[in-house]
Symmetry: C2
Subunit: 346 residues, 2 copies
């Protein structure tokens, strides 16, 4: 398979991306071509620093970079020659099967949606990060691609999350829940209640409403929500985890006694931080598009970037877009939805 990597736009610069690409090339033999898209000289310098030499590498020169400060739409306007746009174009042109970028999320969404277009029958693309919990992991969908979703959008998020969880994460019958303000069937907004009614009619392992208390208690593998809610939940979790962790680290080094204790318990933190740290998943897939698009974390380390490439490769290998298209069409038949655009508006 062929992967396009946007080397620019991440917080740690081109170097971390190239290191991540090196790790990916070493560990994923299925990659037949890997495009590095960005300023040629910087890429070559980073490659020689990383001692990366691999016949599968193709360099595609692009000078411009879409920064975090740029407007998302600039990716196809003011900066249409930027590394991100060029990397997505490789997928559009059929030269790559997947694209990975740690740049501006809105920009990647815009470029992907406009250049690749949505999968047939899909009303909206969605950002689908995998969130680790102590006993399982769950796909949070949508984590912020869009806001004010309709009930049918939510239903399709459930279907896409189902395919992702089943085919890539390996849960045979992923449990799907709608994130709500309580577990009772009657809880929710007008939109989530309608999505509940529809999801129940599909051939999925739909468990109904889940609430915040359920997320980290092994209740579901797919959490369906509007991008407004999902984005808030994702960032709140990151914020709470990081704040408490930093606070605890500070407390644990406050005096000599604690410092000694800290050395002795240090290993207890490792499995938790390793599992809960954003680097473990590396980023989030953008689902619902014609092509595999992986958004790596803005602050992705080399390990994170390698993981982002790995997930992109997995989504290609499992042809999850074909599976999503099939499941969406099956659902449309079951729900008797003939005219999608009209139904979406409801």
């Amino acid at each position: 398979m062929r992967i396009a990597v946007d080397v620019m736009g991440g917080d740690l610069g081109c170097g971390a991306v190239i290191q991540g690409a090196k790790l990916a090339l070493e560990s994923i033999p299925a990659i037949s071509e890997l495009y590095l898209v960005g300023p040629e000289r910087e890429i070559e310098a980073a490659m020689s620093k990383a001692r990366l030499r691999d016949p599968r590498i193709r360099i595609l020169h692009a000078t411009d970079v879409l920064t975090m400060e740029d407007k998302p739409t600039d990716v196809l306007r003011k900066k249409k020659g930027c590394s991100m746009a060029r990397a997505v174009e490789l997928v559009k042109q059929g030269k790559a099967d997947a694209v990975v970028s740690s740049g501006n999320t809105g920009g990647l969404l815009t470029a992907s949606t406009v250049l690749l277009r949505r999968l047939q029958g899909v009303g909206r693309g969605a950002i689908a990060p995998v969130i680790p919990a102590p006993e399982n992991e769950f796909v949070l969908i949508d984590a912020g691609a869009d806001v004010d979703s309709t009930a049918l959008h939510l239903v399709q998020f459930g279907i896409m999350g189902h395919v992702y969880s089943r085919d890539i994460l390996g849960y045979k019958k992923p449990r799907i829940g709608i994130l709500s303000n309580g577990t009772e069937d009657s809880k929710g907004t007008a939109v989530t209640l309608e999505a509940f009614r529809l999801l129940r009619q599909l051939d999925l392992n739909f468990v109904g409403n889940v609430e915040g208390h359920d997320l980290f208690n092994n209740r579901v593998e797919v959490v369906v929500c509007d991008g407004f809610v999902g984005n808030i939940v994702l960032k709140t979790c990151e914020s709470l985890f990081n704040s408490v962790y930093s606070w605890l680290k500070a407390e644990m080094t406050k005096n000599a006694k604690r410092q000694i204790g800290a050395l002795l318990v240090r290993s207890a933190f490792r499995p938790i931080v390793k599992r809960m740290h954003p680097d473990a998943s590396g980023g989030a897939l953008l689902l619902g598009l014609n092509g595999c698009v992986m958004k790596a974390h803005g602050s992705a380390s080399e390990r994170a970037f390698m993981n982002a490439i790995r997930i992109a490769a997995e989504s290609v290998r499992h042809q999850i877009n074909d599976r999503i298209r099939e499941e969406i069409s099956k659902a449309a038949e079951l729900l008797d939805i003939k005219n999608l655009p009209e139904a979406q508006a409801k």
Copy 2:
């Protein structure tokens, strides 16, 4: 001041409530009367067990209990003689200034809204827990009283949160933010964007949109959101904190070396758990009603219940309902809102 306490409905039973009431009576001399509402015999048994004898205590007998399984509306129908309804009635009758209950949240909302009615000019009541962060604390409003709020509801939540944060928590100019999917002014749903436009016109320390990352980073003292979102955020935080904490405790006792280390660092956890634990605030005020209503945590310990009574007493002492009414009316003038019900519907 006079406080009505519903002794039933909490997970730990009448005993913990009575113990909490004892602590409150000892530490809050301003309490002139404290009603204990529930089954007389149980109350007397718990009082004698707690060695609670205080001339300020009044017992109001009520046999029925609204359980967590009961429908909220049962509080005024099937179980209209229950301890919760009787406790709220004491406020309605002018016999108590505030009511505290750890029972069914929906039931308390229903009883309070129907019996006490909303403050003049207020479109919706809201649940307002105080969430501790490492460097400050913030009022999350609404944490789940209702869903599908209008922009004007959100504006009023901001005003109520402002008064609470200023008068009870002591922040001179509490920073108010709308919880959104990004900090840029353009981020949000149709409803939050309109609330943003309105809040900006008021004489408040409105800082604009805040995102999940900001919550625990000392950015705001009032977080405005729809009850659907607030409920999810609140429960997600509780769930993440408790899961990771339990996991860490399990890891830290896995072998002898870690157990010794755990003893040495134990004191490092104390300030964090003490601050982040739900018991610290004891519960959440229901704001926007004619009367002070405090929802104590369902699992409130005696310390939590004491804190719940303390906050209820503070809200009476600071007459925050009068302040809220004033601020709401000032805002209505500024925004030129004459017909509230009509404006609310927008």
